[in-house]
Symmetry: D2
Subunit: 404 residues, 4 copies
């Protein structure tokens, strides 16, 4: 159904040794403008300000998620019963799941009021993209891939393998980000995990004998979140960027001309269906116009752009235990009275648990397959996970503020 | 005070790169008969029946624990205030802490009714050992090292570094056993842990910023216990051995002569102060006489020795959830009525938690140093550990029984 | 002499675990504009087109070379006799040795006709740089660091440790590039190498017992060069860039205005003493203006910029064995007759040997210290290296040409 | 043709993650007495006296060679054209290739005057072995496996994959011994090597594009030989053993009774077709009777056994450069005049080259597949290998002598 390459293409990868491409359509998609663009968007945005070696792009992760999908197909019991068509949809969805990300994505989503998943779907379905053209060789294919990203329950197994508590996205990025930062606690035993997984009645479950590898994986995830992804210095850096994005948006709505090459950015702000401009945007433009904005006449942009360039970061206080209320009140007052104060004072919350599934239903829960063939929800099976679930919730509220 | 070698001796080690020896006394102790004997006793007894690559000896671990002590001295804040004398006591205690182990130690301790720690103390203090002779160059040294092993609160800091919830013994063996078995969940970030530790008022604590590395370490330990150390097949193998030891003991008390080279073993059974015989015993003798016992006329020894050699292991049932009471009752009856049944039916419990300190006091608790300088007990600081402590208790009761 | 930080700063690094900074001046230099700029210049330019994970910056390598200098100080016998002043000069030179690199440095040097080493010296000595200001706290320090980079024999030991056949630069980049690409043959046993090195009469030599680790290192280097650094696809990519740089230079000399943000680039082309513009230049500008040039009216820039963006690479033939002379002649004719042909046809040679020292003298040779205390030139001691030296010379000549 | 297991058996292995067994016959062979016996014979004999962590058994290597055969089948182009029967012969031969080894094999072969390959063939074909019984399920199978070990050109492809310059035996043991000793220069990129290999007309060749991985592999091998396998201290240890074996042989031929449990050893000395006794022999017996011999009345055995136990090793001189002829002559004279001197003075030569194929023919040569489809002998293609071949020959002659 899908043409195979006469000789497999391989990409060297430090995590998997080699990433192998057998289908022509995968090779074409990798070469497409939208996937290549991910070479110019960093996977971890501001994190490299703290972990300086974490400079890898979303491109390497996208190839990695694709390879993890290959490993799922080769190692998870029951995948051989999935049709070739669905398997290729899986591989494609794994490869394309992040193409909707913008530069410094978190801040970008915030000002754009549009999630990167929605943008991924748009790019897959838009007639303007190379990705869409490649997918059009087969009727309904683009729509099927998009439906997996949208999670609309048309291909529930593939959807859960692409995005759930235990998916190819997370398994690649935890391993990769650990490798790139040198954070040893992030290493997961993905091969053991894959061999523990089994497809039963079209859903993924985990054999009881492999639960310990899932416990270790959930702990790794928890640690990576709080030690790496939510690191306050990385967040301070992204907070500056959010201010810059916000200010550009506000000025553009007032009709003020900004002296920097931000046409694409403005186009997207006005209309996030402007696919051409969206694709044009990446870390290169944004880093480029921020450099130009260091000479900008607008006092807010000038100050923030200089802060970004010179790593003059926000200060922050973490609201843990008994915060100093007096200090916080004064701070709040100071910035609410200050001209442009809203760009220089931000309240940011991050939270996470080691493991969670929807409290309302068990739909996202990891299911454990007992030796007698019955299934049990993970946190009812593993006392460790039960403990984690009830006790590991951690919310960090931080006030970032800018001092001259 | 202690003579240094003119040029450091180095031992290549896959975990640390190199293990370095600077003091002459350490070099002499490594060359002593009691430490060299550990080359002939496997670190993990029957575990290599399941994880076939786990064939390493207690000697490599003893060098490793010594090296970890070196790393503690070089990396833990506050160790520079400890006197050279106490630091050398620490290095020596780390090197010698396991010399009291016998062959297949767990089964051995059981039949001998004497812990390996007690034997270590005996060997250090006995005038018959080379170790004791070497330690005698300095008055009181042997006694000081013994007191660290005995945990009698004379050198409380050194005692806790040698044996506690977070010590050089555990840090080496978790890393080493993970390396040797290939169990990825066992890797611990020991360098990060060491840099988090700080000596305050003569006790070890852990900086709040490093608590995540302790959480990960405790999880690793938990997984290594239940996935590796308590593996039922390894335990079944050791259970055979326990039967052999027991039977030899019973026969010798009845005065029956056993046709195998077990003089040293019998000597030790009669009198565990027979140091010469104790040192003579190692895996080589025990494996040797078990081979001879496969021709033994005693039906029990004959059967068990053949089972050991041919890996004809015990069956087992794990008493989890709702065990089949009828089956268990029948089993019990069958073996209690059987001649020699007690050698072929064993009830074994293992239990563990991810983290525990004495419920009565906080003496063994890991202490967390908060940014404001105050100290908190780990499980009151870390919700993860609190959850682990309350939920991770796991007891496995297994019935091992022998079928022809 | 040099102020120490009250608590050491650490940078997590996947190669060394941690990179430690104890001196305030090192910390200040890391924070300087010129060193931070290296975050925006990739270590391996076009290599990530082939090895997609090789996206690391010169910043991570510069920190790594600094850390390797620390390891040299701690592990090489005889370094304790080097004065603290010279040791700090060593650390600084290791940290700053690459600050003179421009974006896509190879192509850049070519068009600029100025080596990156010369630019490094300029930046260190220029009153305009932050680096120079920081070094000025101590009379003569900037000059001493520059002299090490210039290799003018004022601090011969430090010079050879910073740049020679066996230096901190190479030891870090071979390890790092191997780690980042996943090329296993690049791993070198740097710890073993360091422990083999010894300072005798102010020059570095290698103990005979460690020669095998040097042999392995030289082989690694050879393989990394031909498998990674000289990879034809990476070179094809850089050849496009060279064409772009060349064309901009030619146009600017004819006075033609180019419609892209290339002020800094033009300034540097005119005058490479324009430090301010030089520092402004990094991958961000260059990638930025290449994106703009895809709309450029000049046919050469338009074509090359589009080729760069869309990875429409040059074709190439390698002139090995018996090349097809007819084909090559026709090719040459075709491009010499073509308008702008010189931008689309390039003859590129790369060559290397596994080991070489100056044929005229033994100044750069690695010296082996024999057990009897005498010294021998490496290739007279090791038959392997002798063989490599005489046989490993490899020159690759390639014709790159552009086809529509 | 060969029954498959209903669910694959897996063995955890630190090198490959998992070793997978799909055929019932492989599983049965692993459980056989002759393969299990390899758990009790160390892979590297005396090497663990120098590299103390190299304590692994021939069993782990045999499983590893089997797994490498699996990897060859899955990754080498052209293996899909080999029949299932031949592939299983390959897997079996890889698993069994070392079963003929005795305890401390090198010394053992010397005194027995029978190579371990010959013994492997005997054990495979003897009606007394479990291995033979298992192979008998299929007519001619035992003979086919034996013919592969014998290299008698019946299955030339399989023979070369099991034993040649580039085979599953070497690829596993280089990797494994490097992992176990911590010798970083031993790591080989076996996955890259496998992907470079191709079966053409029933013989293995290596694609030109992968030659660098072969170059690196040959260098690794060279270094492992001279740094690890031929280490003088390991050799000194084995030299003692050779003396013990020799003396036992001499005494037994004189009819002298030896007071130690050496029945099996004597049986084998008399008749190496005594399979039952041969299988009974392993490190356990030998270590056991050496311990007993420390009390032996024969002065030679007494001295050597005590030396073995107490690591009182032979002295040695290496005959390199200009040896001290006077000293050597005196030494020789002293021992030739001494009673029993021949047991205490040994001249041992080891030699090796980085790469060699038979000088008379190119039969064993590694063949390189050029892009144009032609084949070339490796050392005519790679200047590095040509250099190695001509220059890397290294012979070490050492005199070991015993001093009280």
């Amino acid at each position: 159904m899908f043409t195979k390459l006469s000789r497999a293409k391989v990409f060297r990868d430090p995590l998997y040794g080699y990433i192998q491409v057998n289908y022509k359509i995968i090779s074409d998609l990798i070469d497409s403008r939208e996937v290549q663009r991910l070479r110019r968007i960093r996977q971890l945005s501001g994190v490299s300000m703290v972990f300086q070696t974490a400079e890898h792009s979303r491109f390497t992760h996208s190839l990695g998620a694709y390879q993890m999908a290959n490993l799922v197909i080769d190692n998870v019991e029951g995948m051989d019963k999935v049709s070739e068509y669905e398997r290729v949809v899986f591989l494609i969805a794994a490869l394309l799941h992040d193409i909707g990300h913008g530069p410094y994505s978190h801040a970008f989503e915030h000002v754009l009021e549009c999630s990167h998943e929605d943008m991924t779907v748009k790019l897959i379905l838009s007639k303007e993209t190379e990705v869409n053209k490649i997918l059009s060789i087969q009727d309904g294919l683009a729509e099927d891939v998009a439906s997996v990203i949208r999670h609309d329950n048309k291909h529930p197994l593939i959807e859960s393998l692409v995005s759930s508590q235990l998916d190819v996205d997370r398994m690649d990025y935890l391993s990769r980000d650990a490798y790139m930062t040198g954070a040893t606690y992030g290493h997961i035993d993905y091969f053991r995990i894959l061999r523990s997984m089994k497809i039963i009645d079209g859903t993924v479950c985990v054999r009881a004998s492999g639960v310990h590898s899932i416990e270790a994986y959930l702990m790794s995830r928890y640690h990576m979140y709080f030690q790496v992804y939510y690191h306050p210095v990385a967040r301070a850096y992204e907070t500056i960027l959010e201010g810059i994005y916000e200010r550009i948006k506000d000025l553009s709505m007032e009709g003020v001309r900004i002296d920097a090459s931000i046409v694409s950015f403005l186009n997207v702000l006005k209309n996030n269906d402007d696919i051409e401009s969206y694709i044009d945007l990446d870390d290169t433009n944004v880093n480029g116009f921020i450099k130009q904005l260091t000479w900008c006449s607008d006092p807010v942009l000038n100050k923030l752009a200089n802060a970004f360039e010179k790593r003059h970061l926000y200060n922050f206080v973490e609201l843990v235990n008994e915060p100093d209320e007096k200090f916080l009140d004064d701070l709040k007052k100071k910035y609410s009275n200050m001209e442009y104060g809203k760009y220089f004072y931000k309240n940011v919350k991050v939270s996470g648990v080691a493991y969670m599934h929807s409290p309302k239903s068990d739909i996202n829960a990891i299911r454990v397959l007992l030796p007698d063939g019955s299934l049990k929800i993970l946190d009812q099976y593993s006392p460790i996970i039960k403990g984690l679930k009830s006790s590991s919730y951690k919310e960090i509220e931080r006030i970032f503020y800018f001092e001259d």
